[in-house]
């Protein structure tokens, strides 16, 4: 864990150092512009990228995860399974590299017989953009959300309070476009649920690693790996806890002027990240994989 924090700190210091060192130089030199399209969308499977669209862009996102493929053709490899998860979201770029958003996620599963209807309010700020001549060698972004569990209050146990519905997620993302084909990101996150099931954590640290490999002007192979970190010190209450399972996804992205289409397979049902980091009980096993897609549509104003 310390190693991750140390590595991230070094990258941050290096990045800020580079900016300061070049501040005077840019006055007389040609401006070093940000790299072109480090990613095609603000979404990468079920995670965020450092990319934020131009100011006054409205983004509509449709995210869907079907059921697991374990039943084979009987439910068409999960496509007709009842446990699908859906998130619809709108994001708007209010200022240069600052985006706010609102999303609604179905959540829950068929056997729980309860739609969670999670509403999340989120924001992303790309603090640093990688530049073409490496004046700034990395992109740095912070992302956070607060989510409200929308189930009937009778579902919650005794001493119900509104705060029982709340959960949050905060993430630092560091990315680099290595060349026209390869862009990679890593990140550190903190997830929190005010109310949890027995045997879960309230809080969870996680590390993230994802990227894309462009195989044609419009097509890329994409992947994502989220690893929850098992830190007992974060939650003394959970004596019989089970650490949530890592989330591995891989797929293909097609991008056009106004759309990005990502189709993938992954082993987590969650669509908001705190759900993925805290509640994923599916091991990385072929039977647990489910087909999913993320589609974004942009409008410029």
């Amino acid at each position: 864990m310390r190693k991750y924090i140390f590595t991230l700190s070094c990258l941050l210091v290096f990045a800020f150092g580079s900016v300061l060192a070049q501040e005077n130089a840019t006055e007389i030199k040609k401006v070093d512009k940000p790299v072109r399209s480090p990613f095609e969308s603000g979404y990468l499977i079920d995670n965020q990228t450092t990319l934020i669209q131009p100011v006054k862009t409205l983004e509509f996102a449709i995210q869907h995860k079907f059921g697991s493929v374990e039943n084979g053709h009987s439910d068409l490899w999960g496509l007709y399974a009842p446990s699908a998860n859906i998130r619809l979201a709108l994001n708007y770029v209010v200022a240069e590299n600052i985006q706010i958003g609102l999303g609604v996620t179905k959540g829950g599963t068929a056997d729980e017989n309860a739609l969670k209807m999670i509403t999340d309010f989120n924001a992303k700020w790309t603090i640093l953009e990688q530049t073409r001549n490496n004046t700034v060698p990395i992109a740095l972004a912070v992302y956070g959300n607060i989510a409200i569990d929308g189930r009937d209050k009778d579902i919650f146990e005794y001493d119900y309070g509104f705060s029982d519905r709340l959960s949050s997620f905060a993430q630092v993302i560091v990315g680099r476009k290595f060349n026209d084909e390869i862009s990679l990101q890593t990140g550190l996150s903190y997830s929190h649920f005010n109310l949890i099931d027995k045997g879960s954590y309230h809080d969870k640290l996680g590390v993230h690693f994802n990227g894309r490999f462009k195989v044609s002007p419009q097509g890329s192979i994409i992947f994502n790996f989220d690893a929850p970190i098992d830190l007992i010190s974060l939650d003394s209450e959970a004596d019989d806890y089970k650490n949530s399972k890592p989330n591995l996804s891989f797929g293909y992205e097609i991008s056009t002027s106004t759309h990005a289409f990502q189709i993938y397979m992954g082993n987590s049902k969650g669509l908001i990240q705190q759900d993925i980091m805290v509640n994923n009980s599916n091991k990385i096993d072929l039977d647990n994989f489910m087909i999913g897609f993320t589609i974004t549509r942009l409008w410029n104003f």
Partner: protein, 139 residues
């Protein structure tokens, strides 16, 4: 047997009609009215004219933003072209290629009617000229 023959003739007529319509409909589209280009663009200088390093960038951006209407080779036969009310000129044609760079710039990024404005989607001037340079390779 006679019924079967009638069905066969009927279906043949329908398919022939569809086939003929497929060839005739696009030709009925009208080319847009002449462009009114502001003086600023008529004399606008392409500041990246000789930058060969931008050709790859131009191709990438053309593929992402323009191909769906203008086609992969600029012949105006992209998948979206069929749904347009206006006929799309071939970017290879002398009519297009004889225009000044600044005129192509105006038509491509400021646009009008069915040719949408791309000034926000392609915000960087260098990227816009990269596309113009790429269009020049379609002669």
């Amino acid at each position: 047997m006679k019924t079967l023959k009638n069905i066969f003739i009927g279906l043949s007529l329908v398919f022939t009609g569809i086939l003929l319509a497929a060839f005739t409909l696009p030709q009925n589209k009208k080319v847009g009215r002449p462009w009114e280009i502001p003086a600023k663009y008529k004399t606008m200088e392409n500041t990246f004219k000789d930058d060969a390093s931008l050709l790859k960038v131009g191709k990438m951006l053309y593929t992402k933003h323009c191909k769906s209407c203008h086609g992969s080779k600029g012949e105006g036969n992209g998948p979206k072209a069929k749904s347009m009310k206006t006929a799309i000129r071939s970017l290879k044609s002398a009519e297009v290629q004889s225009q000044a760079d600044g005129v192509l710039y105006y038509q491509s990024f400021v646009g009008r009617d069915e040719m949408p404005n791309y000034e926000k989607k392609i915000g960087d001037d260098e990227d816009r000229w990269a596309i113009i340079n790429y269009l020049r390779t379609m002669k």
